[in-house]
């Protein structure tokens, strides 16, 4: 692997680890449903970057891009369903706090 390629891959790897730390910490600390979705988005950005960087490092950019596109499409579906669930929860509890979700009856 040439030096510029190695540098870029190392920097991306560092970025992926730091994004994962930020995403997981936020997911553990927050009680707001919308912020949980935002934290999940940050984690999926880290995953997409890791996929593309590993494709660049191994010379399989086409395959890595194809997988990243698949991941982005699934991410959209997950966010849309999560938002629909959030709106249903807000309709019943008038709050976005997970601590208030104490009943299954809806």
């Amino acid at each position: 692997m040439s030096e510029p390629v190695a540098h870029l891959v190392l920097l991306c790897g560092m970025g992926v680890v730091l994004l994962l730390i930020v995403g997981f910490y936020s997911l553990l600390m927050t009680r707001n449903l919308v912020r949980m979705v935002i934290a999940l988005e940050i984690l999926s950005k880290a995953t997409t970057l890791a996929l593309v960087a590993s494709g660049y490092a191994t010379g399989q950019i086409g395959l890595a891009q194809a997988l990243a596109i698949t991941l982005i499409v699934i991410e959209v579906a997950v966010v849309v369903v999560a938002v629909a669930v959030i709106l249903c929860v807000y309709r019943h509890t008038e709050s976005l706090d997970v601590a208030k979700l104490r009943e299954l009856k809806g």
Binding site: T48, G59, A66, L96
Partner: protein, 168 residues
Amino acid sequence: MRMYDVNLLLIAGLVAAAFWTVMTARLLRAVVGLAVTSVLVTALMFQLRSPIAGVFELSVCAGLIPAILITTISLTQRLDAEQLIARKKQKLKQYWPLLILVIAAAILLSRVNVPLEFPAILPPPAKEEDVRTSLWALRHMDLLGQIVILLAGAFAVVVLVREKPGEK
């Protein structure tokens, strides 16, 4: 400015944008921060010679998803001034360890010697494949899976947000 400096700035900006996204007390600013994070990920993807994935990331994660989240936020209740001040104080108390964790992790990672000459699980192709060839020829079942998931998501939303009979 060398390419290495540009890439370093992009990574630093990415982590700073993600940190601001989770730290800010207002949800709308958090969504804007998420969009900025997506833009920086797109720039990195272009540096990694993946323009098609970068365009997808920009249009979907920096455009569509923030639009969906802003619509959700507009349908929920706004915080009043007192609640906002209390929220800001709570954020500072909860998130200062994250700043220390991120700085410590960055310092530690910059000193680690990672061996970059590792054998790839799949050998690289003789000729670099275009993403369109990979999607249609190699990963065509993924496309079917994407269609199924999108349909499932659409049906789930229709079921979840429909009004019950008799409900105003």
